[in-house]
C-alpha cells in the first residue's frame, strides 16, 4: 500500500480548515436571505424554489449574526481553499495519485461489481478490491475532488459582481446569478454529506490507523 505523499496530507488538513470556516460563515450569509431562486434574479417568496431554515448561532461563524464579519471570513478563506485545490489538481496527475488511486476501471462500473462493493461496505468490510481504494471510495473521492470542491469555486466566482464582466460566460453556463447561488448552496451541502460519510467510515474502519496515515503518511507495510 502506497503512503500518502506529504503534499496530499498538508492539503487534506488545510482544506478541512478552509471548508469548515467557509461552511460555517456561509451559514451566516445564508441567514441574511434564506430564499433560493433559479435564473438571473429573485427577491421574494413568490420566486423562490426553496426557503432554507435559519441556522442557529452555534453552527455559524462568527457565532452571532453579522453578515459583514461572515463575509470577511468567507472571502479570506476562499483564497487558500481555491489555491490549495488548484495545487492538488496540478499535483495529482504529476505524482500519479489520480491515475494510481482514483481512476476507476471499466470492470468496476459493471452493475454486479458495484452491487458487490455496496454489499461489502454494508458488511463494514472496506478493504476489498485491488488498489488503495475500492470503487465506491474512488467514486466519492473523485466526485469531491473533481466536481463538488471545484463547483464551489466556480459558483462562488459567478456570484461575485466584480468578476462577472470578465466571467459572464461562467454565469450564463451556470444558468444565471441566482442559479449559481442556488448551486453554491447545493454543493456546499453535498460536501457536508461527503464529510459526514467520510468521518463515519474513518471511525468504522480503524480511526487511529487512518488518522496516522493522513498525518504521518502511515506505514508502508500495512496488512
Amino acid at each position: 500500500m502506497k503512503r500518502h505523499v506529504v503534499s496530499t496530507r498538508i492539503w487534506h488538513w488545510l482544506n478541512l480548515l478552509c471548508v469548515v470556516v467557509l461552511f460555517m460563515s456561509g451559514l451566516t450569509i445564508s441567514n441574511a436571505h434564506r430564499l433560493l431562486y433559479w435564473g438571473d434574479w429573485g427577491f421574494d417568496r413568490s420566486q423562490a424554489w426553496l426557503e432554507v431554515p435559519r441556522f442557529p448561532d452555534w453552527m455559524t461563524i462568527p457565532g452571532y449574526y453579522s453578515l459583514a464579519v461572515a463575509r470577511d471570513w468567507h472571502i479570506l478563506m476562499a483564497w487558500p481553499f481555491a489555491l490549495g485545490l488548484l495545487f492538488m489538481w496540478i499535483a495529482m496527475p504529476l505524482n500519479r495519485h489520480f491515475k494510481r488511486d482514483l481512476t476507476t476501471t471499466r470492470k468496476e462500473w459493471h452493475p454486479k461489481a458495484i452491487w458487490r462493493d455496496i454489499v461489502e461496505h454494508a458488511k463494514l468490510n472496506f478493504d476489498h478490491g485491488e488498489g488503495k481504494y475500492n470503487f465506491l471510495q474512488k467514486l466519492a473521492y473523485g466526485l469531491v475532488l473533481g466536481v463538488f470542491l471545484p463547483m464551489m469555486v466556480f459558483t462562488g466566482t459567478a456570484i461575485s459582481p466584480g468578476m462577472e464582466p470578465t466571467f459572464g460566460w461562467l454565469v450564463d453556463l451556470l444558468g444565471g446569478r441566482q442559479s449559481a447561488r442556488s448551486l453554491h448552496f447545493i454543493f456546499a451541502f453535498a460536501i457536508l454529506g461527503f464529510f459526514i460519510v467520510h468521518v463515519a467510515l474513518v471511525l468504522l474502519s480503524g480511526p487511529i490507523g487512518q488518522m496516522r496515515a493522513m498525518i504521518t503518511g502511515g506505514s508502508t507495510h500495512e496488512a
Binding site: V20, V21, M24, I29, S30, A32, H33, L35, Y37, D40, W41, G42, F43, D44, W58, M59, T60, I61, P62, G63, S66, L67, A68, V69, R71, D72, W73, I75, L76, A78, W79, S160, P161, G162, M163, E164, P165, T166, G168, V171, R177, Q178, R181
Partner: protein, 246 residues
C-alpha cells in the same frame, strides 16, 4: 441529544477560536487584507471599462424591491416629495476647479445612458431594472477634477439610524461607462423606495454602493476624515467591505 450537545460544544469552541483570531491585530489585518486581494485580482483580470451584463428590456423584474431607507422622513425630504422634487439640487464639489449645482432639468438635458442591469444585494437577492441618466464621467469632466482627487463621495438625503447615508468609489469605478446618475427606473421617474429623485448606479458592485436620494457628489483625496472613515454608511456602521465587487 448528547451527540448534538457535543457538536454544539465543538462548534462553539471553534467559533470562539475564530473570534479570537478576528479580534487580534494580526487577524483583523489579515481579514481586511483579503478584501484588497480580491479587489486586486478583479482589477487584474477585468478591464477597467469591461461592462456588467446588460439584459433585454423584457427581462426587467415586475417589481423593483427597495431596501435600507425606503421612505425617508428626515429633514427637507418629505417637502421635496410633496413638491415633486421641483427644487431638488445636486451639487458637484470638493477637489474640483468648477463646482456645479444642477437641477433635475439640467440633469435630464445632458446626454443620457439607459441600461437594463441586475442589482445584487449583499444579502443575496437580485432584481433587474432599466436605469436612465447621465454618466458620472460627464459631470466630473464638467467640474474638472483636481489631480489630488482620489475618491468620489456620494452624499445622500436619507438619515438611517441617526447617521446620514453616504458612499464612495475610486476613480476607476467613478469613470466606468455604466456608472450613471439615474433619474428613471423602467422609463418612469424613480419611485421613493428606489431613491427618488436621483441615485447612483455602480454596476460592478453590490447594492449598498448605489447611493440613493443623492444630493451631492464630492471629490476627495482621502476617505479618512469623512464620517467614520471607512468610506460608506454600512462600512462605518457594520464593517461591510468598502470594495463591494465580491
Amino acid at each position: 441529544m448528547k451527540r448534538r450537545g457535543f457538536l454544539a460544544a465543538a462548534g462553539a469552541a471553534f467559533v470562539a477560536g475564530c473570534n479570537k483570531v478576528a479580534e487580534s491585530d494580526a487577524g483583523a489585518r489579515l481579514l481586511s487584507a483579503a478584501e484588497k486581494w480580491h479587489m486586486g485580482a478583479h482589477r487584474l483580470l477585468t478591464n477597467r471599462e469591461a461592462l456588467a451584463p446588460e439584459y433585454p428590456r423584457n427581462a426587467v423584474s415586475p417589481f423593483f424591491r427597495g431596501n435600507g431607507s425606503v421612505d425617508p422622513q428626515n429633514g427637507d425630504y418629505p417637502r421635496h416629495v410633496e413638491e415633486g422634487f421641483a427644487n431638488w439640487q445636486l451639487t458637484v464639489g470638493g477637489l474640483v476647479r468648477n463646482p456645479l449645482a444642477l437641477t433635475l432639468d439640467n440633469i435630464r438635458r445632458l446626454p443620457q445612458r439607459s441600461q437594463v442591469t441586475r442589482h445584487d444585494c449583499v444579502e443575496g437577492w437580485s432584481a433587474i431594472g432599466e436605469w436612465t441618466g447621465p454618466q458620472l464621467s460627464l459631470l466630473l469632466d464638467e467640474a474638472q477634477l483636481r489631480p489630488e482627487a482620489q475618491f468620489i463621495v456620494f452624499r445622500c438625503a436619507d438619515n438611517l439610524n441617526g447617521q446620514d447615508y453616504y458612499e464612495s468609489v475610486d476613480l476607476i469605478d467613478a469613470y466606468h461607462p455604466q456608472t450613471i446618475v439615474a433619474h428613471s427606473l423602467n422609463g418612469e421617474p424613480l419611485p421613493v423606495r428606489n431613491g427618488a429623485p436621483l441615485r447612483m448606479r455602480i454596476e460592478r458592485q453590490l447594492g449598498y454602493k448605489h447611493a440613493k436620494y443623492l444630493t451631492g457628489i464630492e471629490a476627495v483625496a482621502s476617505l479618512d476624515d469623512i464620517a467614520g472613515g471607512q468610506g460608506g454608511y454600512w462600512e462605518d456602521r457594520a464593517g461591510y467591505q468598502w470594495y463591494a465587487g465580491i
